[in-house]
Structures are given as structure tokens and as C-alpha cells.
């Protein structure tokens, strides 16, 4: 079980090294950009703007947010509050039934869910530490996200080859997000095993075992999906999920 977890990490590391070679430079630029976007959103500038300008702004915002959070996870830097704006900036609209746009919307909403998840899993306020309720709720949310995917970018929830990098990247993140959500259960399980308290909490252990098992499965799935993604250079190579 350890080794699967490490393979995921190793994979993140390698894919990262292969692709993101100027993260510091990128981080400098995106911080500035994110700051300016927040200034703009806080001002009246958008009120006076035309519809198309506003739409463009929304696109810029969400692309910025996606890139920003990818980098944040890689560099382990502190967020500057961009995610507070997720609620007030609508997802962009489109007239064309373009697959690229579907992908982008799915990616943006997944990113939104992801940043929320990372804030909640293991979160302290309200003392939710290893709370199965959180796990259950987050899983529900991500399943909802999956259920609402429009047909053009719908992917099968297994690791069969897709030959569509965008779908494949979404699928990878879908699996990876599950591994993030189940991670506290894994720690809890290991801790109980280490304590030797396992026998006392048979029912609980059983439940935990179930969760850990699905964690392992998701880990394996994400590795398998990552293989398909890693064969060439494209946009979907930021594998680092948690910050």
C-alpha cells in the first residue's frame, strides 16, 4: 500500500520535472496577474465594460485560477486569496458547442471543487479531522460533477485507453481527487494498526478497510491514466493536486 502511494508521488515529481521548468518565473507573473484580476473584480471597471469584454475577463480569470492553483500546489506557496473570488466570477459562456469549451468548463469547476476540498480535508475549524462525513460529502460532490459532464467529454471511470488527452486529463484528476479525499482514512487506518487497537474497533476497522481499499484502487487507476498522459507534451501534465 505504501508503495502505491509513493508511486503516485514519484509520478507527480517526474511529470513535474519534465514539464514545469520555470515555475518561479511563472509564479511571479501569475501572482501579479491574479492580483490585478482581483483589483479589477473589486472595482467598477467591469460594470462599464461591454458584454464581450466581461466574457473575456471571465475566461482570463478562470484560466488564471487553473494555472495559479496548479503552481501553488507545485511550489507549496501560500494562496493570495484568489479562490475567494471563485464564487463571484461566473464561469464563462459560449455560443459554440465546442468540445474545448466543455473541457474548459469541466476543468474550471473541477478546480473549484478541488480548492474547496483541499481546504476542507483535514481542516481544523469545527475540528473536522478524520471525519467520514466529510469524506462522504466530498465523494458525493465529485460524483455529481462526474454525472453532470456533457457527453462530449464524458469519460469512463476506468483506466481504458481514451486517445483523447483532455478527457484523459480530467479522468486523471477525477481519480486523484478521490485519493486526496480518502487520504485521512488511510492515515487513520495506519494509526489504528500501529496502536494495536485494531481488534477493539472491529466495526470501525472494517469500514476503514473499505475506504482504504478504494483509495488503493484510485491510486492504481490514477497511475494507469497518467501513463497515457505522459507519452507526449500537452497541457494536461500538471499532476500535483494537493497543496
Amino acid at each position: 500500500m505504501h508503495s502505491v502511494g509513493l508511486t503516485v508521488i514519484d509520478l507527480q515529481y517526474r511529470s513535474y520535472l519534465q514539464i514545469a521548468i520555470r515555475p518561479l518565473l511563472a509564479w511571479d507573473c501569475i501572482m501579479e496577474l491574479a492580483r490585478d484580476l482581483m483589483h479589477l473584480k473589486s472595482s467598477n471597471a467591469l460594470e462599464g465594460a461591454s458584454q464581450s469584454e466581461r466574457e473575456s475577463f471571465h475566461r482570463v480569470f478562470w484560466i488564471c485560477s487553473i494555472l495559479f492553483h496548479e503552481l501553488e500546489a507545485i511550489l507549496k506557496m501560500y494562496p493570495i486569496g484568489l479562490r475567494q473570488f471563485h464564487e463571484v466570477v461566473p464561469l464563462p459562456l459560449t455560443n459554440s458547442e465546442d468540445e474545448g469549451f466543455f473541457y474548459f468548463l469541466a476543468q474550471a469547476s473541477l478546480r473549484k471543487l478541488l480548492t474547496e476540498t483541499l481546504d476542507v480535508v483535514g481542516y481544523r475549524v469545527g475540528q473536522i479531522v478524520y471525519a467520514p462525513i466529510v469524506t462522504a460529502e466530498l465523494c458525493k460532490q465529485i460524483e455529481e460533477w462526474y454525472d453532470h459532464l456533457p457527453p462530449p467529454i464524458r469519460f469512463p471511470a476506468n483506466s481504458s485507453p481514451l486517445f483523447d488527452l483532455r478527457k484523459s486529463f480530467l479522468r486523471f484528476q477525477y481519480f486523484a481527487l478521490h485519493t486526496v479525499i480518502y487520504w485521512p482514512s488511510v492515515l487513520q487506518y495506519l494509526e489504528l494498526c500501529a496502536d494495536g487497537n485494531g481488534d477493539r474497533n472491529a466495526g470501525k476497522m472494517q469500514n476503514l478497510q473499505k475506504e482504504v481499499r478504494s483509495w488503493v484502487q484510485r491510486c492504481i487507476s490514477s497511475c494507469e491514466c497518467a501513463e497515457e498522459l505522459l507519452v507526449q507534451r500537452h497541457l494536461g501534465l500538471q499532476f500535483t493536486l494537493w497543496a
Binding site: 505504501h2 508521488i9 488564471c64 474548459f104 481542516y123 481544523r124 494537493w242 497543496a243
Partner: protein, 327 residues
């Protein structure tokens, strides 16, 4: 208010009240000593042991010793310690019902969802024993080891999470911790300098803008970037390329800026260098480098004048993107 005696209102208040409601306040119906719970609630206490309210509520009725009530405590530390004590008592009074509910669920926050299959309880609760909920509360409330160490995020401080740079393994994991952040940042800073040095070397290099190349790079950009991140419509892109072309890609033209970054991304995307392990000329190693630095030059100029204009913002996104993907 820190003085643990809610009944003892300020003198002015009392006289005012007495003046307004002489009949209500007289004769005094207060008992000499109210129990702690009634003191806290500012309700009338019948001074029985246990008193009526506490009996009804099913909580333990505590009276402070008369000495303690009399002593005037004034230093901040003393006042604080008394508040702490009181809080502890209140928590203690609250505990029995909570403990009963959370028997199967664990954290207080998860109480409400008893219907879901949740037998997992919180690690903290576990490690501090279910038999002493008071200590559990104290532990949770005081949060002593909330160790926001360098570059540690909120969730991580509570749930040990591995990342590519560092991982602090909890003792029970029986696994090594690592922290390679410093090395990573060293390398990155060195690489950045190298990158700029290369940029200097290609400053006056010829920028290939012949129609065929432009078309190919544009196509690559659409395929590898716009289909993932629809930053702008295809038509808008084509317009910008036309404008820039008409202006012979003059670096003072905003459209040129957008084009340069788009071409840089296009050039990187079609490059197979890092996957073929071939030998490279240092400048070839960075496909699209000349476009990138030309774009930067334009952008500097643009930012001075229209930093937050939509087109400038779009250029800036592209610039970031190039930085995350250049090899």
C-alpha cells in the same frame, strides 16, 4: 465581566434599575450565593443544593467556595485563569450529552449525520481516550501543536500529506520524511538565471515571421492551447495575427505581443526535444525562445500603459503559460 460574578452589576446600573422599578427590586429576592450555572446564565438561583435549574437541566450544580467568591482578582493572568476554569466547568457540563451522541461518529462536527455509515471517529478523539471527553475538548480547543511550519498549508498541518517537495511522516507511518524544498528552490533560481542569460543571447536574433511559419505556429497554438483553454475566440486570434502582420510585427503593437506569446507556445508544443533525448544546441533547447523574449519586450511596453486592459491580461496569461511549459 471577567470578575466571575454576573449578579454583581455595576453600582450605577443597580441604582438606576432600583430607581426605575422600586417595587420590583424591593425587597431583594436574591439569594446570598447563586450556583455557578445560574451565575453564568444570570438567572435566579434558589440556592438549593443542587438548585432547581440544574436539577431540571440535569447538569451538575456547583457552588464556589465562599472564600473564592470574595477574593478580588485583578491581574490579567488571574482573570484569564478564572475564565479558563469557568469555561472548563461549562464544557464539562456540556460533555455528557455530546459524548452520548458522538459515541459512534467521532468529531463534534460530524454529529448531525448519524444516518450515513460513519463509524470512523476522529484521530484526536481516539488518541485522547473516549473516557475523558473533557481533556479531549481542552485538547481540541487549545490546539497546541498547530504547527504552521514553513510552507505548510492549513490542511496539511492537521493531516500529514505527502507532496513532491516535502512530507512530514507521522510516527505511526513508519516511513521517512523528506524536505527537498531548499534544493528545489536553489535549482530553480539557478535555472532562471540561465534562462535569462539565454534570453540575452537571442535578443537580436531574427524572429521568423514568414507566412508559412506563422501559420504553422498559429495552428499549433490553437490545437495545444486554445482547445484546452479557450482564452479567446478563433476569430479574435486571427484578427490579431492579421493586425500584427499588417504592422510587420512591430513590437509596439499590442497584437504583436499576443502573437509572439502564441507563437512561443506553438513552438514549444510541437517540439519533441525532451522526449527524444537528442543533442541540442542551447538555444534550440528552448523552442520559441526568441518569440518569448520578443513578447516580453512588448509586454513591458504594454504594461506601462494599459496593464489591466483585457488584451494585456490575455498576453500575461500566455506569458505565464510559456513559463510553466518551456523546457
Amino acid at each position: 465581566m471577567a470578575e466571575g460574578s454576573p449578579k454583581r452589576k455595576s453600582f450605577e446600573d443597580e441604582t438606576l434599575e432600583a430607581a426605575l422599578n422600586p417595587s420590583k427590586n424591593y425587597p431583594r429576592k436574591r439569594v446570598a450565593v447563586a450556583c455557578e450555572v445560574c451565575r453564568l446564565r444570570k438567572t435566579k438561583c434558589d440556592a438549593k443544593r443542587p438548585c432547581g435549574f440544574c436539577t431540571d437541566a440535569g447538569v451538575e450544580c456547583i457552588y464556589r467556595s465562599s472564600n473564592a467568591a470574595e477574593t478580588k482578582q485583578s491581574s490579567a493572568a488571574e482573570i484569564l485563569s478564572r475564565i479558563e476554569e469557568r469555561l472548563e466547568r461549562v464544557e464539562y457540563a456540556l460533555v455528557p450529552p455530546i459524548a452520548a451522541i458522538s459515541e459512534s461518529t467521532g468529531t463534534p462536527a460530524s454529529q448531525r449525520l448519524t444516518s450515513v455509515d460513519i463509524s470512523l471517529s476522529s484521530r484526536r478523539r481516539e488518541s485522547h481516550g473516549t473516557d475523558d471527553p473533557r481533556r479531549y475538548f481542552q485538547h481540541v480547543m487549545s490546539a497546541p501543536q498547530f504547527d504552521f511550519s514553513f510552507r505548510q498549508t492549513t490542511g496539511e498541518a492537521v493531516t500529514a500529506r505527502p507532496s513532491i517537495l516535502s512530507f512530514t511522516a507521522p510516527s505511526y507511518l513508519n516511513f521517512e520524511s523528506w524536505d527537498e524544498s531548499a534544493t528545489f528552490y536553489d535549482d530553480e533560481m539557478a535555472a532562471e538565471e540561465h534562462f535569462f542569460a539565454l534570453g540575452e543571447s537571442c535578443r537580436d536574433q531574427f524572429i521568423d515571421t514568414n507566412i508559412r511559419t506563422v501559420w504553422q505556429l498559429q495552428q499549433a497554438f490553437v490545437f495545444h492551447f486554445l482547445q484546452w483553454m479557450p482564452l479567446l475566440d478563433l476569430n479574435t486570434l486571427v484578427q490579431h495575427v492579421n493586425i500584427a502582420q499588417a504592422d510587420n510585427f512591430s513590437l509596439s503593437n499590442p497584437s504583436t505581443c499576443l502573437c509572439m506569446f502564441a507563437f512561443a507556445i506553438g513552438a514549444i508544443s510541437v517540439d519533441k526535444g525532451s522526449f527524444s533525448n537528442g543533442q541540442h544546441d542551447p538555444v534550440d533547447e528552448y523552442p520559441g525562445l526568441s518569440y518569448y523574449f520578443a513578447g516580453r519586450q512588448c509586454l513591458e511596453y504594454l504594461c506601462r500603459r494599459r496593464k489591466r486592459h483585457i488584451l494585456t491580461l490575455q498576453c500575461r496569461i500566455l506569458q505565464v503559460y510559456v513559463c510553466t511549459r518551456s523546457d
